[in-house]
């Protein structure tokens, strides 16, 4: 068996590694290379400019704004989405009041809610963004302000996406709305794999719903939460589609909803500064790597087995 072992391994690995190198590694290297040039992206002429692109980035107010918005999204979005997802999943699965027949059950009609929560996930993000753009419309037709008027709050008529202080939060709300359903389903699946014995034992130990959730459910669900956190973080670092389709500008009034991915797109395809844009891309890569590193470190725990 030892004889020809390496030839055997190489035989299987060569092709996938070659494909990986051509389609994944080389674009990375290429992008980093272009970030040191003044390539416009429109012609094939470019020259080496060294760190000039990065220099300009450091002085770019819009870049810092976009980075700040991305970091805010990265902090708030997973926290709110996962928090709501966990809360709903807990209520649907074990949070119900004691009913006839079962000690541990979800709230009434939990099967129905599970389906309803998943609806936004089925809709295309483009459709969602368009729908919410109309809902946020501050004029007569806007659903939100219409609702506020209908309940007699004529004085409270925010500009929503037109207000620089409010626009980013509007974007976040839409992204939470889109994603919460998926996490309800994901966490429901995770919770149903926790043996009922634990809940019954906790019940006998005198734990109420609150303690059961924080001391039993959450620790046992930690692996799933961590996966969700990474996934949600990636969505937060991207958020291109919602910003592009929904916000004013696009990019919001006073760049209030500008994010790195959209800024990168503007730089390269509107302004014809592909070299500058790839430098932005490299910055985004660094942010992503730092985020991944932090999540891995914080989330490292012993594996649990039931």
């Amino acid at each position: 068996m030892q004889h020809g072992k390496y030839r055997f391994i190489v035989g299987f690995l060569a092709l996938p590694l070659a494909i990986y190198a051509v389609f994944v590694i080389s674009p990375f290297v290429q992008a980093i290379y272009y970030s040191f040039t003044d390539w416009t992206g429109l012609s094939s002429d470019y020259s080496w400019v060294g760190l000039e692109n990065y220099d300009r980035l450091l002085d770019d107010e819009i870049f810092w704004k976009a980075l700040r918005n991305n970091l805010l999204l990265l902090l708030v979005l997973p926290l709110v989405t996962l928090g709501l997802g966990l809360f709903f999943a807990f209520m649907l699965n074990v949070g119900g009041k004691r009913r006839r027949g079962a000690v541990i059950a979800g709230v009434r009609g939990s099967g129905f809610y599970k389906v309803v929560y998943f609806f936004p996930q089925v809709l295309s993000i483009a459709i969602v963004a368009v729908l919410f753009r109309y809902a946020y419309e501050p004029t007569e037709g806007g659903a939100l302000n219409g609702f506020l008027r209908a309940i007699g709050l004529d004085s409270v008529q925010p500009l929503w996406l037109g207000d620089p202080d409010l626009a980013l939060w509007c974007v976040m709300a839409v992204m939470v709305w889109c994603n919460v359903g998926f996490y309800v389903v994901l966490f429901s699946a995770g919770m149903s794999s926790i043996p009922r014995d634990f809940y019954e034992a906790a019940l006998l130990d005198g734990a109420n719903r609150f303690t059961t959730f924080f001391r039993i459910t959450l620790p046992l669900l930690w692996d799933t939460v961590q996966t969700g956190w990474i996934y949600m973080g990636i969505i937060a670092l991207d958020s291109f589609a919602v910003v592009q389709i929904m916000t004013i500008g696009p990019g919001g009034p006073d760049y209030s909803t500008e994010v790195l991915s959209f800024y990168l797109y503007t730089k390269s395809f509107r302004d014809g500064q592909a070299g500058q844009a790839t430098a932005l891309g490299v910055a985004l890569l660094i942010v992503t790597l730092i985020f991944a590193g932090i999540v891995m470190r914080l989330g490292r725990r012993e594996r649990l087995e039931f």
Binding site: G101, V103, D197, E200, A201, L203, D205, G206, A207, P219
Partner: protein, 395 residues
């Protein structure tokens, strides 16, 4: 806990709950009934059971007999549709589990995998808001009794099956409840550990003096551990008695066949003058029993004989017909040699059909496969049951 038995008191001297006369932890099932939604037949049907303070009661029966459901009703994990359950004088029928002052050992132990042994054992006290120092003291005392001291910092994953079982026991002990509930706590252990652990649990229960309800499907466990044993079948209580009485005087055919290993031989035989005809012999049976059966219109009765209550005969006893040997001819199919004894699994021709019988023989004189033995039941050791109702006729 496999070598020494530690002193009853912990190092603090306060471990054992001091039960005054006011905290009599009797348990009463009063016509308690459980019907699962969507099912016609109750899973537990009008269960009537009185468990004395400090008693070790074992619920035993085949799977699906309602024993676990009964226990879970007492724990509050299962609703009671009719009747009531009382602990002492308190009606707990509709109380939530945490207010019942009980502790339960689950079949799979249900140890929280993300907590250490110490945290697992102290969880209930922590929730109850007991001061940390007190919790630690109680956990350490319980750990000492169960020989778990060196494992207190470990997670359940790093423990063997027997150790996990002890942690589950410890979690119950630490709470000092009025009643212990145990749901087949030994079924995940290997055969040898199960035998040693069952005596340890029984002796621990006796030392602590806490009323215990124990569920098992293993009749040997039931007989060896319980002060009293309750046999259930199909949600109905069949008999509650001490292990001795359960073995000597089973109340009906089901209990007779369920209790004892190997099982009692149950043979349907015709009634004749002065007793019942058993092969070529007449076995004398209490006249009243025969009369009672005859009154019901039965022409046969079911006779139960335990394997050890057959005597081997070789034609010395009085026979009905002169040509045949006395007793019942049993053709040996299989012999199980256990050293001290041997069990003969054979076939006999009784009442017009072939019947499988088990006979205990001396371990030094086991017959060969294919041989024919002649056996008669020992007088006074037979059990007679009505063929139509299955109820016991003799007393």
């Amino acid at each position: 806990m496999d070598q020494t038995i530690s002193p009853l008191l912990g190092s603090s001297g306060t471990f054992l709950p001091v039960k005054g006369p006011l905290t009599m932890a009797t348990v009463t099932f009063d016509q308690a009934t459980r019907v699962y939604p969507g099912s016609e037949r109750p899973a537990v049907d009008k269960l009537e059971l009185d468990i004395a303070d400090g008693e070790f009661l074992v619920l035993v029966g085949p799977s699906g007999c309602g024993k676990s459901t009964s226990l879970r009703m007492l724990a509050g994990l299962e609703d009671v549709n009719e009747g009531a359950i009382r602990i002492g004088e308190r009606d707990v029928t509709h109380l939530p589990p945490k207010d019942r002052d009980i502790a339960m050992v689950f079949q799979n132990y249900a140890l929280y995998p993300h907590m250490t042994v110490a945290d697992n054992m102290g969880f209930a006290l922590k929730i109850a808001g007991v001061p940390k120092a007190t919790i630690r003291q109680k956990v350490e005392d319980a750990a000492k009794i169960l020989d778990l001291t060196e494992y207190l910092g470990r997670k359940p994953k790093a423990l063997s099956g027997g150790q996990r079982q002890r942690v589950a026991m410890g979690r119950a002990i630490v709470r000092e409840p009025q009643v212990f509930l145990m749901d087949e706590p030994l079924s995940n252990l290997d055969a040898k550990l199960r035998v040693s652990t069952r005596t340890q649990i029984a002796s621990l229960q006796r030392r602590l003096g806490i009323t215990t309800v124990y569920v098992t499907h293993d009749q040997v466990e039931a007989l060896t551990m319980g002060d009293r044993v309750a046999v259930l079948k199909g949600g109905l209580l069949q008999q509650v008695d001490s292990p001795r009485n359960m073995y000597d005087r089973p109340a009906n055919v089901f209990v007779a066949g369920f209790i004892g290993s190997p099982a009692m031989n149950l043979v349907e035989v015709p009634i004749v003058d002065g007793g019942v005809k058993f092969g070529n012999s007449v076995v004398p049976v209490n006249r009243d029993a025969i009369a009672e059966a005859a009154n019901k219109g039965d022409t046969t009765v079911t006779v139960g004989i335990r394997p050890e209550h057959f005597d081997l005969v070789n034609g010395e006893t009085k026979s009905l017909s002169k040509d045949d040997k006395a007793g019942l001819a049993v053709t040996v199919n299989v012999v199980e040699e256990l050293g001290a004894d041997g069990y003969v699994y054979g076939t006999a021709h009784v009442g017009g059909q072939d019947k499988d019988l088990v006979v205990r023989v001396n371990g030094r004189e086991v017959p060969m496969k294919g041989e024919t033995l002649h056996v008669v039941p020992r007088a006074g050791e037979t059990h007679v049951f009505s063929t139509s109702t299955g109820e016991r006729l003799t007393d």
